[in-house]
């Protein structure tokens, strides 16, 4: 089972994540597209770990998951504060520093 299939899938998922990040307006959906990109990268790491017969790829995936958790926690706290102050989750309405 060639590894290139997994890498192609990872590339497609990453591309879809970028499309979501660029085109969506809701800030939480943008955040979820970032998580999709991180997941695609995890798949690539594990595929390479299997292709090269090493386990460092899996260690790195472990760290990526942990960092994604920390980032999601702080990022969502920021989103809550923004929503409280601007009363909107639309990124086009929070592009000015003035309230």
């Amino acid at each position: 089972m060639p590894i290139s299939y997994y890498l192609a899938l990872s590339a497609v998922l990453f591309g879809l994540g970028v499309i979501g990040f660029v085109f969506k307006r809701n800030i939480i959906t943008i955040f979820m597209s970032i998580e999709l990109m991180l997941n695609a990268v995890n798949l690539a790491f594990i595929a390479f770990a299997r292709a090269l017969g090493q386990l460092q790829g899996q260690v790195f995936v472990f760290f990526v998951i942990v960092v994604a958790a920390a980032e999601a926690a702080v990022g969502l706290a920021i989103v809550i504060v923004i929503a409280r102050n601007r009363q909107s989750l639309n990124v086009e309405r929070i592009n000015l520093l003035k309230l």
Binding site: M1, P2, I3, S4, Y5, Y6, L7, A8, L9, S10, A11, V12, L13, G15, L16, I19, G20, F23, K24, R25, N26, I28, T29, M32, S33, E35, L36, N39, N42, L43, I46, A47, A49, R50, A51, G53, Q54, L55, Q56, Q58, F62, F63, I65, V66, V67, A68, A69, A70, E71, A72, A73, V74, L76, A77, I78, V79, I80, V81, L89, N90
Partner: protein, 173 residues
């Protein structure tokens, strides 16, 4: 068509369908559910690549805790449907086909560049090897990530608190 290839195609189809659904859905909660489906399909792919521990961690931590956080915030903020404006003609007839073509091209090039790699047999049990690496070679980053999580907890707590003094000040004015 070996059984492995069949399972890979099914899981890959679910992952791509879920990812497209994340982008196309109107309500954020439906996007969240689609993303959870993508993560579970990816966990299945990790199992195919013989990393059972990472597959379990992906479901327990990523799909079972981080996405729960997303769902909570969506429910808390009562995030409703997105406003849908029509795409310009350029975007709809030129942009979307170009985007799809870009994705296919990306997948093809990545696949072709690495087509010579084949899967090597895994070393001793993946879980055992992973924990040896994590606690011997990578113990310093491991401890650092625990401090990172502590910082994230404190940051989230401080950021999401309602400031106690603000309503009183406004009342005074």
């Amino acid at each position: 068509m070996t059984p492995q290839l069949e399972i890979f195609l099914i899981l890959a189809a679910i992952a791509v369908a879920g990812a497209v659904s994340v982008i196309l859905q109107r309500e954020p909660i439906h996007s969240a559910i689609s993303l959870i489906t993508v993560m579970i399909a990816l966990a299945g792919l990790f199992l195919l690549l013989e990393s059972e521990f990472i597959a379990a961690v992906q479901i327990i931590v990523y799909a079972g805790a981080i996405m729960v956080l997303f769902v909570f915030v969506i429910m808390l903020l009562n995030a409703g449907a997105e406003e849908r404006t029509n795409m310009s003609r350029m975007a709809r007839y030129v942009g979307v086909p170009l985007a799809i073509f870009l994705l296919i091209e990306l997948a093809y090039q990545v696949g072709a560049a690495t087509s010579s790699m084949t899967a090597q047999p895994a070393a001793d049990g993946a879980t055992r090897g992973l924990s040896m690496l994590l606690f011997q070679d990578f113990v310093f980053p491991f401890e650092l990530t625990s401090i990172l999580i502590l910082i994230a907890i404190l940051g989230a707590l401080v950021l999401a608190q309602r400031s106690e003094g603000a309503p009183a000040q406004r009342a005074q004015q």
